[in-house]
């Protein structure tokens, strides 16, 4: 009698997520990637694990932040050369780690850093590389369906790739929602990898944080936007004060721009700019379709308006029916009071 050959069941596919940090802080995008990776892994009965590069000083705080959202195993590489980003240190670190972990897929953000070093990693390992992808949630017949965004977002290139051959995908920001923080601390397994990390020939000289007042509104993380309801040019001081307190940039509707209250570069909408900040606070804006078109994909939309019927409420995550001149200054004060508390009398 012939005995059936016993083939070892193949290991479930491994999807790795690179948790990116910018100046010692985790990028929110990493959590979006995690959400993507979970969906994909679920569809192929795979597993998700997370990679974090850090230094000894930052290890504790970054891990704490990560553990609020991550229940999957974490691979940690700690090295003094990770105190700043460098192409060579990141490339050499990730190449060595991938050789150990042998993933099927690696997700990174299509950020400046991600786009800088991931191609070199893919080249060194002979992995496939897919830049600027949208979520790939399907894998049919062992193949991953991939959508790449090209031509300034005007074309989507469809392609597929066998899961069995390792690939790196860089993902656009804002394609998935970040998973909610875990209610009970998940306490996943954390593995430290001791690796030799190259130093590289590029050195960081200075970090230059953005100035929200001069930032292009398309790059702003938070926007405070005003419309005709603000009343006049001088009244925009109320919005500026709130923007300063929030670390937000100022934006406006076309009506406010046409009236000469705010510069055209700050106009949101069909004939202005399309923005996707994490926070969009619209005050005294009615929400004409021409305006909504430019801001409806913002993360959270907050509305302050005196007219309950204003269409802008239809896209609001939080609405306040009230006079902006009464509400906004109080909000500004509240935020400032909070800041003072957070930094007690050290300002001498």
């Amino acid at each position: 009698m012939n005995s059936l050959p016993v083939s070892p069941s193949p290991a479930p596919p491994l999807v790795l997520v690179f948790a990116e940090t910018l100046w010692g802080k985790l990028e929110r995008l990493s959590f979006e990637l995690l959400a993507d990776a979970r969906k994909l892994a679920a569809s192929v009965k795979g597993r998700v694990e997370v990679v974090l590069f850090t230094t000894q000083e930052q290890r504790a705080s970054l891990l704490e932040e990560l553990l609020a959202h991550v229940r999957e195993p974490i691979h940690l590489v700690e090295h003094e050369n990770f105190a700043e980003y460098s192409t060579e240190s990141y490339t050499s670190g990730l190449v060595q780690l991938l050789q150990v972990l042998q993933p099927n897929l690696l997700f990174l953000g299509a950020t400046t850093y991600g786009r800088d070093f991931a191609p070199r990693v893919a080249a060194r390992l002979g992995y496939a590389y897919f830049p600027h992808c949208l979520l790939s949630k399907t894998a049919t017949g062992g193949k991953l369906d991939i959508t790449r965004v090209t031509h300034g977002g005007r074309v989507h290139i469809q392609t597929n790739w066998p899961l069995a051959a390792p690939a790196i995908l860089t993902m656009k920001a804002g394609v998935a929602d970040a998973p909610a923080a875990e209610k009970t601390p998940p306490n996943p397994q954390v593995t430290s990898h001791a690796l030799k990390i190259a130093a590289g020939k590029v050195r960081l000289k200075k970090r230059i944080p953005p100035d929200p007042r001069t930032l292009d509104i398309r790059q702003a993380e938070k926007l405070v936007s005003g419309g005709r309801g603000v009343g006049n040019k001088e009244n925009f001081a109320v919005l500026r004060a709130l923007a300063d307190a929030l670390g937000a940039s100022l934006a406006a509707s076309r009506a406010a721009v046409d009236l000469g209250w705010v510069e055209y570069e700050r106009q949101v909408g069909q004939t202005g700019k399309t923005v996707t900040p994490r926070l969009y606070l619209a005050a005294g804006i009615s929400g004409a379709s021409h305006h909504l078109m430019g801001m409806r994909d913002a993360g959270k939309i907050v509305v302050v308006n005196t007219d309950r019927q204003a269409p802008i409420f239809s896209v609001a995550h939080f609405g306040v029916l009230g006079d902006l001149h009464a509400v906004l200054p109080r909000l500004t004060e509240r935020i400032q009071a909070d800041k003072k508390k957070a930094t007690p009398a050290t300002s001498k």
């Binding site: 597929n160 050195r203 930032l215």
Partner: protein, 297 residues
């Protein structure tokens, strides 16, 4: 930009002629052909490459004796990209015979050329308007074993042994970094303002004979990422957006007003969340809590 001890530089600039994707585009559903709404395809020198070229020209101006050479991988002889490079004042232009087989091949072809001649600095665009993979720069640096800075938004200082540049990061943050030379940088389109190139210069450039090189690629794909054979362009699927329809119960005047205002007329609110109202003290506190809960303050 400041140039320290004016030593001559040898600078290479990589130029690609692209389909001008700033114009309206459509994707032919059957064939996947990407077309503009024009009788002839409108091509242009990739904007980011124009900035790379401009920077190279300015560096040459400030350090006498420097040379700028422009390169393009293409199987098309009439190369507006290279003509433009010459018209802007590049010392030499060279076309490397090769077809669009994916960014890794383009990088490998360029690398074969740069293995034969060393440049102090190689300048690329950050990404192209059309295929926009942002791959050629990093792969070229990888194959040539050069340091790189990608996403450069400003050039601060240049010396024979190093270059000081700012790179753009997420949400408007920037970093000032110093890179040893030789090295490779990729520049963003808005990094260096372009100078005017006269039509006369362009015409003169078109009369120049641009040499063609045939590089043979190493047969092994070692040291290159893999890339799929098949890829189908499609139009982005239109997201379903709520369109407004004027309500027949509205008065004609309201309907006209609604159409004129793009929907901004009386309409039942369908908010995704509750709307708070009350005295200013109360609502501003609620608003504050919402912002706090979502970590905006």
């Amino acid at each position: 930009m400041k140039v320290l001890h004016t030593t001559p530089f040898k600078i290479a600039v990589c130029l690609k002629e692209v389909l001008d994707a700033r114009l309206p585009l459509k994707v032919e559903a059957k064939t996947g052909a990407i077309q503009q709404d024009a009788p002839e395809p409108v091509v242009t020198l990739n904007p980011a490459d124009r900035s790379a070229l401009e920077f190279a020209m300015q560096l040459r101006e400030q350090s006498p004796g420097s040379r700028v050479e422009v390169f393009s991988v293409s199987d098309v002889a009439g190369q507006a990209a290279l003509w433009y490079g010459l018209a802007r004042g590049a010392d030499d232009a060279e076309r490397i015979e090769g077809s669009g087989k994916g960014a890794p091949y383009t990088a490998a072809l360029l690398a074969t050329r740069f293995h034969k001649e060393t440049f102090d600095l190689i300048c690329c665009g950050d990404e192209t308007l059309d295929n926009s993979s942002a791959l050629v720069g990093p792969l070229l640096a990888e194959i040539l074993d050069l340091p790189q800075v990608t996403g450069v938004v400003r050039i601060v200082e240049c010396s024979k042994s190093s270059i000081l540049v700012e790179r753009g990061l997420e949400r408007g943050s920037r970093e000032l970094v110093e890179m040893d030379l030789p090295g490779l940088i990729t520049l963003k389109a808005e990094s260096v303002p372009w100078r005017y190139v006269s039509y006369q210069k362009l015409e003169e450039a078109q009369l120049r004979n641009i040499p063609v090189r045939r590089e043979t690629l190493p047969t092994s794909s070692n040291g290159l990422p893999k890339w799929p054979e098949q890829a189908t362009p499609t139009a982005p699927r239109a997201r379903v957006k709520k369109s407004f329809t004027p309500d027949s119960k509205m008065s004609p005047a309201d309907r006209v007003r609604m159409i004129m205002a793009g929907g901004a007329a009386p309409q039942e609110s369908k908010s995704k969340s509750s709307v708070v109202e009350g005295d200013a003290e109360y609502v501003s506190e609620q608003l504050y809590r919402f912002l706090k809960h979502h970590e905006f303050v």
